[in-house]
Symmetry: C2
């Protein structure tokens, strides 16, 4: 008995499936390889079979599963429930909502991966109970999702929350989007590595030199060096948090969230990131608006996407 919801997080490598109760509590999860080359039809059939299997494994009758949500990376037509074009998966123009509905006989809703992660954190993660929240994900790139007035904001073209492409450095390095100096070029894992590499290239003395020269340097190396007091690593992190804080100060003026929830691999740096980030935000944000704004780590990790996807079809969630 009860009402349950399934969320699917479709990624280039794996498909993650989770089933939640009506409060966003994850009861059971599963994972399968994406196998992009098999095509969208085979993919949909495996997702549908995986969803039924998941409910069974969780001991939940299929009749108690009230909906399925799917988060996908790329360009989607939300109103039509279609995949237009994905990142790292060569499926194009796939009416996946209707396809899954036909296979499963339950309501299906799709949304982009950053949005569903924000919905997950707002439903039962770090932002639980907040009606106004912004998730910023610091990974290979910088993604985001906006919850405002208790709802997930999509925007007219489904592109709301693309905060990684807010320019922060006029004439900065080129970004994959075609602009220069986007937040993503500085405050992502890629950005941190680039800044450390540039410092070594400029002849700065740092224990990071050997990692840079070996081409193995990662965010973790930079964070570890910062924890040990390396001035170069500390500068790299300061540069990254300063750019991020300037964008957060702007978002505070636009949507006035109660909290910024920071997720993604870089957020694993913990207080090495959060302490200077809160300080930089205090420097850049308008005090009257910024007062009381929380800056907190995401809580759901890799489960955020599937939980938020499940939330897309749950009544009483933030679904817009």
């Amino acid at each position: 008995m009860g009402e349950y919801f399934i969320g699917i997080d479709l990624g280039g490598t794996s498909i993650k499936l989770g089933i939640t109760d009506a409060t966003g509590h994850l009861l059971h999860k599963d994972e399968m390889p994406t196998r992009p080359a098999e095509g969208a039809k085979a993919g949909m059939e495996r997702m549908a079979a995986g969803a039924r299997q998941l409910a069974e494994s969780a001991g939940i009758a299929w009749g108690d599963v009230k909906g399925l949500g799917l988060g996908a990376p790329g360009f989607l037509d939300l109103a039509e429930g279609k995949i237009l074009r994905l990142t790292n998966i060569p499926w194009e123009n796939v009416p996946i909502r209707d396809g899954l509905q036909d296979l499963l006989g339950i309501p299906v809703v799709i949304d982009n991966d950053a949005n569903v992660a924000a919905l997950g954190e707002a439903w039962s993660g770090a932002g639980a109970g907040l009606t106004d929240m912004v998730l910023i994900t610091l990974g290979t790139g910088v993604g985001g999702g906006v919850i405002a007035g208790g709802r997930l904001i999509h925007g007219a073209g489904g592109m709301a929350g693309e905060v990684g492409h807010i320019p922060v450095e006029p004439g900065g390095v080129p970004c994959g989007c075609g602009q220069q100096g986007c937040l993503e070029t500085i405050s992502s894992a890629t950005g941190l590595v680039r800044l450390a590499t540039a410092a070594v290239g400029a002849g700065r003395a740092t224990p990071l030199k050997s990692d840079v020269e070996a081409g193995t340097i990662t965010t973790r190396d930079i964070v570890n060096a910062a924890r040990e007091g390396d001035p170069v690593a500390l500068e790299v992190i300061d540069t990254a948090v300063d750019a991020l804080a300037r964008v957060m100060a702007i978002l505070t003026l636009v949507n006035n969230p109660a909290a910024f929830v920071i997720g993604g691999g870089v957020s694993g740096a913990g207080e090495t990131l959060f302490t200077p980030l809160r300080r930089a935000f205090g420097r850049h944000a308008l005090p009257d608006v910024a007062r009381g704004v929380q800056i907190i780590p995401a809580q759901l990790g890799n489960d955020a996407g599937m939980i938020g996807a499940a939330g897309l079809t749950a009544k009483g969630t933030m679904m817009g």
Copy 2:
């Protein structure tokens, strides 16, 4: 018969009252002096009397008036329906929602003046029918209001839409908010006059020189000179629209609106403003997100506030 709604636009000089039908069509309006010094209690009593009088003048039975909304300039506690502190009116800590409800016996909702103007334009003005829209008001300052997912966005502290204080010029001139180089210091009427004055001060030849030296220069003078091809006036406008377009490009990445609706006195410049503004937006906005975004003049003028205030209590409007 039917359902009608009253909106009050409380300003430092005058109180504007309007009554609308359920589609945001303004049926009748009235205006009275604010008389701030008489105090909040007298003000509330006059507003209540004015609301009853307005319905009577419009030939609408009081029983058909289903709600009253109030827009006010300053700091409000929206949840408690309280005025905390107003701009140009010395009323503090006034439980005005409950006060008006007691006097009138109908539901009352309050919101800030920029938000209600956005709601008005989204309900029955330039943004009618759009679920995602940003109003930017270019007046003495720069204000804004955000409609997202079909609802007015307030944010956690009721401060959403404060787009005038987004910094656009690092180390720029001081703003009233305590920061430097805010959008408001450049793209407001005040900003345009400041830029023209600076150009004259720098020895630039322009027909604006006499107005600047007489201290009588206004936005209208600058717009007129631009229309006649004065390079200095054209540069001033280009500077103002470039800063505005950069902020609009950012807002496009955050909330992805279908339209920017530009209001306030400066928007009276018409195509002298809108043509370079659209061009600058094309230069700064990320093409994938900006495609199809409309940049259009506000339609309701000074009535936007009272119409939007009326909309605060109308069912089926954008009210969040």
